[in-house]
């Protein structure tokens, strides 16, 4: 069994009109056994920048701690928050440092950049960046997520519609994946506010 499928995960981010949404499932498993149903995979870097980490849970947590460390030092030195594009380059560089002994994570980065322009990207476990204008997915449910997002996504959705779309895409995809699920967690970020919501789906 692949190391990426050890804990099970599903992360997705979508771009809307002057907003973005990032969502993940809540299951933490050890292969077939479910250990936790409230596991956090989406983390805040600063008010307008979030990162979702799928894959091996321990690497996700450690990588997140390292990134927060780097960002806090950057904030102190440069007296400003990191732009999403800059942060994505940093994550890519950090992952490639471990090219021959990598972190088994696939990050999904979502943020509001200059002029509150939404930015999303994903990368593989060794830092190959992939920018997208519509949506990015990662995790054990990624194949289902690709299909669901492709059919449900429309450009320039308002926050409420974006929330509905990303929730439906997430829940229907994790239902087809035995390793992810047990509800969902959705974060919707606009220039003025952040909405967090927990979804109740099939609890299996």
């Amino acid at each position: 069994m692949s190391i990426f499928e050890y804990n099970g995960s599903a992360v997705v981010a979508m771009v809307g009109k002057n907003c973005f949404a990032i969502a993940s499932d809540r299951r933490l498993g050890v292969q077939l056994q479910t250990i936790a149903t409230d596991f956090q995979r989406v983390f805040k870097i600063h008010d307008k920048l979030y990162i979702g980490l799928s894959g091996l849970a321990t690497d996700a947590q450690t990588l997140y701690q390292r990134l927060v460390f780097r960002h806090k030092l950057y904030q102190l030195r440069e007296e400003r928050d990191m732009k999403p594009q800059t942060f994505a380059s940093l994550v890519s560089a950090l992952l490639y440092e471990k090219r021959f002994g990598p972190y088994f994570c696939q990050p999904v980065i979502a943020g509001l950049g200059e002029d509150n322009e939404p930015f999303i990207c994903t990368m593989d476990c060794i830092g190959a960046k992939e920018l997208a204008k519509d949506f990015v997915v990662s995790g054990t449910a990624s194949e289902s997520l690709y299909g669901a997002c492709e059919s449900m996504y429309k450009p320039n959705m308002e926050p409420e519609e974006l929330f509905e779309t990303i929730s439906q895409a997430l829940l229907s995809s994790v239902d087809r994946d035995c390793l992810s699920g047990w509800g969902g967690y959705v974060l919707l970020v606009t220039p003025t506010e952040v909405q967090e919501r927990v979804l109740k789906g099939r609890m299996d």
Binding site: R77, E78, Q85, T86, S89, L90
Partner: protein, 235 residues
Amino acid sequence: MGDSQYSFSLTTFSPSGKLVQIEHALTAVGSGQTSLGIKAANGVVIATEKKLPSILVDETSVQKIQTLTPNIGVVYSGMGPDFRVLVRKSRKQAQQYYRLYKETIPVTQLVRETAAVMQEFTQSGGVRPFGVSLLIAGYDDNGPQLYQVDPSGSYFSWKASAMGKNVSNAKTFLEKRYTEDMELDDAIHTAILTLKEGYEGQISSNNIEIGVIRSDREFKVLSPAEIKDFLEEVE
């Protein structure tokens, strides 16, 4: 400076609380050729004398003002070879920053890192401080900026500053002439006049060097022809 007993080891404080080697380094800077910088409302200008030891030296091969990144330039007073080492290190640091963040390094960060290098050489074994003071001029998202970095590693942001042989006269001249809302072309004229004040001999487009950065964020060293135009405007 009667602490000569304590001037043998760089890393030893003298009883008066000074690091004598740094004082000596500043003396080396103070006997170097005059250089100056002025921050205008829409750009920065840095300039220096370019007195060559003999008329036989090919003056086109000597460039005292260097580019660190496309939007940051630097000039020095003091020892030329030490300057070259610092330029090399700073350029590398700027590129490392870009490699990590894919963003051009802000001027303050580059100044801070260069100053850190200079400070390292005041607290390590077997090395001596750099015999240069730098004037770093740049234009980034925080607008035009001018910084001076000393051999000790301390750095200051200036509206206008001078270093080298003629520092006190030059600074007095700049204090009188500087205005907050100066335009860049006025600043270039003022820089030329300041250099002229302390220049022994006739100033010409071949024995001074001027570097300029405008709001287009491209640091440029002016060619002798361009300097000649400015000189004529000043006459």
